[in-house]
Amino acid sequence: MTAISPTLRRRSEQAEALRGFALAAPAILLLALLVVAPLLVVFGLSFTDYSLGARHWAFTGLGNYARILGDPRALGAVGHTLVYVLVAVPLSVLLGLMLALLIQERVRLRRAYEVVFFLPATSTFIAMAIVWQFLLHGRIGPINAWLAWLGVGRIDFLTDPATALPTLAAIGAWQLVGQTTVLFLAGLAGVPADIHDAAALDGMGRGWDRFLRVTLPLLGPTVLFVVVTTTITAFQAFDSIAALTRGGPAGSTETLLYKIYLEAYQYTAMGYAAALSILFLAAIALFSLVQIVLADKRIHY
């Protein structure tokens, strides 16, 4: 028996590996250039007191990180971010799920609904911000006029520190719900029709039982994907804050990302902003990881 020459075998495997590298090379290069290297720079900056425009700067070790712990605004920003995420994500995911379930059964209006609910996701927020600012005006905004008509007291949506953050989160949900709906629709389309028929015969009418026992579990992977992507997006909310409240009133809508922006580009404290950025990235990564691990246990494929 002649063993095939290992060099020959390796040659063909090498050829494939080479092609793989060649094809991935631009992406690898750009990944290094646009993500990895800048992140390393940011990481390095987080140990300095560099300030934009300054000619002198020094290493401060873990100083910036220590400073975060003593900075109530930074800690507050972490809290605001969590509140934002905890309002916007469940709201958009649950609403998206409900919409998808309702839209899925529509035949004629399906396309129209898809378009309508996806509309906010496509709209330039800076344009929509002007609209929201007016609609939510504490005094002359139509929403408050309707609330007054309903006998509900006036709400200073964007200028009351108690309501500003939830309001922004709700607007975030308004933007996100199209995406979640469309993703859930895609997930629902993947559930075989046979399973629904079988469920009908097994005594599960179209209502709650079918949803709980069949639809939701089968949607498991989609739910995970939607929750993770929505969470990442919610963490990164920036436009609405910059355009509507600029962190106010009274700092109540200062999220972590907005705080980073303030430190870096309003206060020019680059080193500190870098430390906050690293913290921010770590938080997103941790959050996504926890969700994936937690959800993985409950997904059945």
Partner: protein
């Protein structure tokens, strides 16, 4: 003759449509105000926000003013160049990488994929400063290059397309190899055409994101001629002087509409793309 009882089905459908229409109304509320305001004269705007405009013809005037106040056409053109150019380049980078990740064996492949997934979580605000400084030192700020280059690598595109390409039958690829296709030809002539819906889905995401992005253009653009639509809208929006809402909303409509149009055109493929990639 058909004795089926259609009543429950009908009530269900009416109920569901009622809920959907109600929510649709809520979602559309801002657009309604936008459209109505674009048809108003300045003095009408705040008195009766959802009343019918007195003279919808003002819309034309407002649009004219929008174009007169700022180089609106230029902004729209910039938006087109940036989003279209970016989409092409993103695909040019992502397609080969996704194909290699999906169908070829090479060392470090899983590490690369892990990095790509991790990169999905990085918001542009974080690596922005170093990229800005490099661009500036290359004297490349305030150019299409500066607007496009930092986003040419789209981890999302790579992720999405990899999922899609993996579903492409290996046997067809093998058949093509027997037929004498080169790897690049297999990718471009076989795999990519089959991934059209996924590409459409990505296109919608990419165009939406970059047409609407304000953050990065705000930093790299310093001349009006390079401004993208949202940046243009910002120039247009009267910061400290109060607001001239009619033309502003007319401009806003002009800026929001193209992406909506893209979505409308790509909708079927978009939804199919999401369904096919499975996202599981």
């Amino acid at each position: 003759m058909a004795p089926a009882n259609p009543l429950p089905r009908l009530t269900r459908s009416i109920g569901a449509n009622a809920v959907l229409l109600g929510l649709a109304g809520l979602v559309l509320l801002p657009y309604a105000w936008m459209a109505l305001t674009a048809m108003r004269a300045p003095s009408e705007i705040f008195s009766d926000p959802f009343g019918l405009p007195h003279d919808p013809g003002i819309l034309v005037d407002n649009i004219r003013r929008a174009f007169a106040a700022v180089p609106m056409a230029r902004f729209l053109l910039n938006g087109l160049v940036v989003t279209a150019g970016l989409l092409m380049l993103q695909l040019a980078v992502a397609v080969p990488c996704a194909y290699a990740l999906a169908k070829l064996r090479f060392a470090g492949k899983s590490a690369l994929f892990a990095l790509i997934v991790a990169a999905l979580c990085v918001p542009i605000q974080v690596p922005m400063l170093p990229i800005y400084i490099v661009l500036a030192s290359l004297k490349a700020l305030d150019s299409y290059f500066a607007l496009i280059f930092p986003f040419v690598l789209s981890p999302f595109a790579i992720f999405l397309l990899r999922q899609q390409f993996r579903a492409f039958p290996d046997e067809i690829i093998q058949a093509a190899r027997l037929d004498g296709f080169s790897e690049v030809e297999i990718m471009l002539r076989l795999v990519v055409p089959s991934a059209r819906p996924a590409i459409a889905a990505f296109a919608v995401f990419s165009i939406t994101a970059h047409w609407n992005d304000l953050y990065w253009p705000l930093i790299v653009v310093s001349s009006e001629t390079m401004a993208t639509p949202p940046l243009g809208l910002m120039f247009f929006r009267d910061g400290d002087l109060g607001t001239d809402y009619g033309p502003l909303m007319a401009g806003a409509i002009l800026i929001v509409a193209p992406v909506m149009l893209v979505f409308l055109l790509a909708q079927r493929q978009f939804i199919r793309g999401l369904t096919m990639t499975g996202l599981r």
